[in-house]
């Protein structure tokens, strides 16, 4: 049965991506006892996901090595299921982990916005970043025909990485219209580094056209995807594929922050200049405070880590963070989701419960959709369909409850609220 591990630290960091690594490193360097909890086998998050550190870019290696030297501790393969006041409850295999920490930094990253289309439930249809995550975890794409249909800055590096990994890119598509992209490109004049990086990625799959204003409308196959159909400017065509990566952008993971009672507006955790949330003792850094990419996540993590450790935060860090935020807003203006077209009625929307689009009435709320159709009641707890339904019908997410992640042990353990009597 489940064993119990009780830990007491000064700072608990939830999420071991760039924001969490930077926060923990700064906190630990300031002399605090810091523990990072992450679900993955390695610290690093999605962008620094790796099999061996040698494969990582220099910046990632530098930060991970600095983290190691700082003395901060990391607990991987650990899922946080509850956060109340200064107590964190997590599960690690058959072990229950309880962490007491007066300071908690939420750095839970983002997930992909996956919009339903006919055939999106077939095996080998994945997210754009999902496909990349699997490749980084050791999945081979050598010689495979791969199509990407995404939105925004993630598509380019993923296409480049897949080409390097030996995939045959048959389509690289971005639903953003060319006119929006041109307006954005003009605003990049002050950031030549970014343009140059884009050119470098682009060169790695020079044989494949990058199609703006193009999206996937269906996928088909016997027991796995075999072909995908795309549409652009009134033209529709089908390509044979072995793998399809499809997504429409990123969604901040705010479930833990909401569970902890932090104010969330427009899908983003509200923070002040020092990354403090509305909840005393809880900071938030990186994508949950607004999608902004790795450099911004590092800055926000540093600020949160320093402040949580009671250290002064240099003005230079805050200024760089503010500039990064402003740039993230420009990116969102350029690549943010336009109006979403509803898929055909029979298309499955909730993958956990196999609920088709026709089951929903747009006059409902998310709560009603859950009650009437079971959408969002499965193991993913609406993390996939909730974001899609929000994009399709404008429904705000329903309230969050612990345990945040269903695990075999989570069914055996109590949540923090109900366990008060026993501690």
């Amino acid at each position: 049965m489940s064993r119990l591990r009780d830990v007491s630290v000064d700072v608990a960091v939830i999420g071991g991506g760039p924001a969490g690594i930077a926060a923990a490193t700064r906190g630990s360097e300031a002399g605090k006892r810091v523990l990072v909890l992450d679900e993955a086998p390695h610290l690093g998050g999605q962008i620094w996901r790796h099999l061996s550190r040698e494969s990582l870019p220099a910046k990632a290696r530098t930060w991970l090595e600095r983290f190691d030297r700082s003395g901060a501790e990391g607990l991987t393969e650990t899922s946080v299921v509850d956060l109340q006041d200064s107590r964190v409850l997590a599960v690690r295999w058959n072990e229950e982990v309880r962490v007491r920490a007066p300071h908690v930094i939420i750095a839970t990253g983002a997930r992909e916005l996956l919009l339903p289309f006919p055939g999106w439930t077939l095996p080998n249809v994945m997210g754009v970043g999902g496909l990349q995550a699997l490749v980084k975890s050791g999945a081979s794409v050598v010689g495979k025909r791969v199509a990407l249909a995404g939105a925004g800055p993630l598509v380019l590096p993923v296409a480049a990485a897949l080409a390097r990994a030996g995939a045959r890119l048959v389509v690289v598509a971005d639903r953003t219209s060319a006119s929006r992209v041109l307006r954005f490109a003009a605003s990049l004049a002050g950031r030549p580094g970014e343009l140059w990086e884009g050119v470098r990625y682009r060169a790695q799959f020079a044989g494949t056209r990058y199609r703006w204003g193009t999206r996937v409308i269906s996928a088909a196959g016997e027991s796995r995807v075999q072909e995908a159909t795309f549409t652009a400017g009134g033209r529709t065509w089908t390509e044979p594929v072995d793998l399809l990566g499809a997504a429409a952008g990123l969604v901040p993971n705010t479930e833990l922050a909401r569970l902890a009672g932090c104010e969330v507006r427009g899908g983003v955790v509200m923070v002040d200049a020092l990354q403090q949330s509305s909840r005393a003792g809880v900071w938030c850094a990186g994508e949950p405070a607004g999608v902004g990419g790795v450099d911004l996540a590092l800055l926000e993590g540093e600020i949160a880590g320093l402040d949580a450790a009671g250290q002064p935060v240099p003005q230079s860090l805050q200024k760089a963070r503010d500039a990064g935020r402003a740039h993230a807003r420009r990116l969102d203006l350029a690549f943010g989701l336009d109006a979403v077209e509803l898929p055909p009625p029979e298309t499955i929307v909730c993958r956990c419960e196999d609920v088709p689009c026709s089951a929903f009435d747009k006059s409902w709320t998310m709560r009603q959709a859950k009650l009437y159709t079971r959408a969002g009641m499965g193991p993913c707890q609406g993390r996939v369909c909730g974001a899609a339904l929000h994009a399709m019908f404008g429904w705000a997410p329903d309230s969050v409850r612990a345990p945040l992640v269903p695990t075999p042990v989570a069914s055996l353990i109590s949540t923090l609220e109900s366990s008060d009597a026993t501690t």
Partner: protein, 82 residues
Amino acid sequence: MARILSILVDGRLLEVSEGITVAAALLNAGEDAFRDSVSGRPRGPVCGMGICFECRVTIDGVRGRRACLERVSPGMRVITRE
């Protein structure tokens, strides 16, 4: 080079590289149906990061493990579509 180790997937012996995830090992072996949906349709990994729960399999007797979050280990027994 990574060390090679053996795992059992639905009774079939697979030689896989140390350090990769169970999801990667299954995909590399051509096993792309990890589970059956509530209406009996095959499903495989989607998000690759533990969010969607589509890649859940039984690992060493424990049901509902997310294959994308778990690394292969010597002698590991994986059962799909249970």
